[in-house]
Subunit: 272 residues, 2 copies
């Protein structure tokens, strides 16, 4: 393991290395609107170094790209009206969620849905926070392309090669509270692959795939915050490079939880 | 939001603050054995500051406290033998998992079980990595007390007030790969509670509870690694304090995924 950047050597009686990773919020960004040059606004406020990982709230990327829906222009379907009535929600908001979804795993007590990129999230990641009334932000429909675009823009504007992770705040199974998750990334692989590595005693590892983009997105989320003093972009500096792959999402047939939810739904439907 | 430590002010044309959080692996720790003074070994290798958050792999805490089982001394029950046969595992290892569990949510394709503290994990968190043959490490049976004990030891040895998070590497629903999760903590609350906060437009937030200990544990896990060059302890410096609560685990009756798994299991059992 090698830390390429910002490595701090602290010699002591016992020789060891203390390597430092830095995590910095990018402050002073204005509220983002459709058409804003997000990369330029970030570059004006950041002295990037090659190898930095830039985490951006996916909602901010979506706003810059105009990936929002105006509820006043939505005509809800019967299905949206039925789900909304059961959930006490605005049927137009539910319609936006259904439009963004490729598979609805759960309708109650909350909508849990898969979006085209493979991510599964509550309300399909559709968000009404930090936007004007009647506006809903959808997740970037192609978050990988959005991350790659920002990465290219930063290379062009600042002449630096960085990685970009688009984040969303999501709930988890079994545990209360939300954490930051990666929904798009560019310049790094999602998974660090330990297959072939051995443990301290030379045996093959049982933990073999680490979802490192989610671990980064989670920590960035702490710095971002959720409220009016939130910071939508965070730089991680000093992480060593890793090798791996991008298959972050289970295929439906290998996803135990998804199968259990499907079985459980069918059960409810067939109940007398 | 205030960053108490390590704050770096970088003035630019547009006035803003770039605040830095530092994350440092503690290198040079020996392989830990039962009876080792883990806090002392860590303090010898770390210049702690008040407010630091120390993340420790729970397996290392368990080893220091002798919370291991020797498989040569285990007599598997019929249930363990049956599960082991289906899974191609050692029935003694399965017995250790059953002994550590209070509720088995899933037996196949992997064992998913709740442990007394509320955590739900694959193989109940029982681990055979980085230990001698025939030894299985169980999760600390009282991880909150273990974290508090290390925190007290550090205060006594180094005179510093730090927070401690015990971490484990866990899979997630819907997403491949494991990430670091918190299983015990002391000196911080598990959840940062945003209830009552407003968004940029003054409306109540929908995301209201952030599982900040899991976000920290995840990032620390990147530095820890899993293999023979792993680093079992990581210091996070410069995070601002937060307010919240410690109810990290859903109660069974409010846990949608747990209910779905239970329904799905009953379905399988009642199938012809």
């Amino acid at each position: 393991m090698r830390y390429d950047l910002s490595a701090t050597l602290i010699p002591t009686g016992d020789e060891f290395l203390m390597m430092t990773i830095q995590v910095m919020g990018i402050h002073g960004l204005p509220i983002i609107h459709a058409g804003d040059d997000l990369a330029a606004l970030i570059c004006e406020r950041t002295a990037f170094e090659d190898g930095d990982i830039l985490c951006i709230a996916s909602s901010v990327s979506a706003k810059a790209n105009g990936q929002t829906r105006n509820l006043t222009e939505i005509e809800p379907t019967e299905r949206a009206i039925a789900i909304a009535a059961a959930a006490g929600e605005d049927p137009r908001f539910i319609q936006v969620i259904l439009d963004a979804s490729v598979d609805v795993l759960l309708e109650s007590p909350f909508i849990l849905a898969a979006v085209p990129c493979g991510h599964i999230g509550v309300r399909a990641g559709v968000d009404r926070s930090n936007v004007e009334d009647d506006i809903a932000i959808i997740l970037p429909p192609d978050p990988m392309a959005a991350a790659a675009g920002i990465r290219e823009d930063i290379r062009r504007i600042a002449g630096r090669t960085v990685a970009v992770i688009l984040t969303d705040t999501c709930g988890r199974a079994f545990r209360r509270g939300q954490t930051g998750h990666a929904v798009g990334w560019s310049g790094v692989t999602a998974i660090r692959d330990f297959r072939g590595d051995t443990d301290l005693f030379g045996r093959p590892l049982t933990i073999t795939e680490e979802a490192i983009v989610d671990e980064i997105a989670g920590f960035a989320n702490i710095v971002m915050g959720e409220s009016s003093n939130g910071v939508p972009a965070v730089v991680v500096r000093g992480l060593p490079a890793w090798q791996g792959h991008d298959r972050l999402y289970f295929r439906p047939e290998e996803d135990v939880m998804r199968r259990a939810l499907a079985t459980s739904r069918q059960n409810l439907k067939s109940a007398p």
